[in-house]
Symmetry: C2
Subunit: 269 residues, 2 copies
Amino acid sequence: MKRYLVKPGSKVNLSKVPTKDDSMFPDESKETHLVKLDELRQSMQDHQHKFMAAASHKFLVIIQAMDTGGKDGTVRHVFAKIDPAGIRVVPFKKPSEEELAHDYLWRVHKEAPANGEMVVFNRSHYEDIVAVQVKNLAPERVWKKRYDHINNFEKMLADEGTKIVKIFLHISKDEQAERLRKRLENPEKRWKFNLDDLEDRQRWDEFQKAYEVLIEKTSTDHAPWHIIPADRKWYRNMVVSKLISDELEELEVELPKLSFDPSQIVIED
Amino acid sequence: MKRYLVKPGSKVNLSKVPTKDDSMFPDESKETHLVKLDELRQSMQDHQHKFMAAASHKFLVIIQAMDTGGKDGTVRHVFAKIDPAGIRVVPFKKPSEEELAHDYLWRVHKEAPANGEMVVFNRSHYEDIVAVQVKNLAPERVWKKRYDHINNFEKMLADEGTKIVKIFLHISKDEQAERLRKRLENPEKRWKFNLDDLEDRQRWDEFQKAYEVLIEKTSTDHAPWHIIPADRKWYRNMVVSKLISDELEELEVELPKLSFDPSQIVIED
């Protein structure tokens, strides 16, 4: 998995990072990957089951991407076998009036995972730098301070027992055009089309630049970024599944200790 | 599905209601049901996908049962294919100090579903009648009023667009003994064993009686109870899957209307 990890302190040039790749699963294809993907999901399910029982760690997945980057699809496909009792997916949409009346991390902190809980952020506090910056929603002196806030916030979460996995789904501008067109053509998907996405597309380069700086400044030892080639959905699903499964496994959680001697217990009829 | 529905106003005698049955899927067995179960889950997934997109209704599933009745397993198996972004499972455990300082519906109301959201209560406000009554945690004059409170509360939820599906997983006392013994024998499951369950088991008859009155008094037109034979896990999973799938289908939701003309939109390269 190291190939997609952004080493803390390294420079990021998104135009040099592939959006199409198959190097992790070179023998698979769109046609043949489903069996392997299902094995990865099963492995994730097994680890997550123990993780939930142990209730000793917290697990936070943060997913960011350009529009149509595949955030919803990744959630749907990668976490398809997780026990719904053990996962919470939190979409961060445009903040409400009450949320805007607070600091930007207030609504985020409320959704942080508890012990034994896996939480997936679909968008996150990173929009409070990237979107705010590109769409000019707040002056630079405001959002510039947020890199440090976020690093400090995530450090605290990590110190208190949260495993943080940050994922940037990296697609090309051509792939976005194709996905937007498909969305418009398909009567079942058309309702998902958002006119605002076209405005954001015109600022593609600004967004990419903002993400580069963001990833450089917030890929830390306690919460590094992974840039996942995401033009091919099947490959993206496999890589993210492997990543989550590995991270869960590395926690090496233990089932809770018993507070009683099972041999002394009698179940009466 | 009508066979397990408790008609509003009818009497309930749990000892006369089967805990073992196969009348809904007479051709299936523990060995052969998986294909059919997967079809039911797929159907549920399709309906739920549209339900989520429509975001016009709210969906609340309430699951109650005796200890080892299969609440966790039902959640895990029945909702195995639901998009994790569209479901929230809420376990109601022993109330916290803050929760106890409020009325008993306060913590419940906070977890009510929003439009397009499916929420599953693993235990619920019904514990505030049954457990409170049998374990004598509050005087009768307190819990006696709660049947009406709950009927009124659920009526309001239903009037405001919530589909409420209430499920009692019905197991026999013998089946409970077997499950408790298995839990103790299996090193992977042993940690789940709770000594309090043995105390509750000694009050089996009191619990059954309390559930009978509860179901009689709170099976309403807007939120009826279903008593599901749950000694056989595979059959329970199939019946509950069918029930949820049917209820979702009956909502007849519509995809959101478009606010633009797709033919007028050009995606530039």
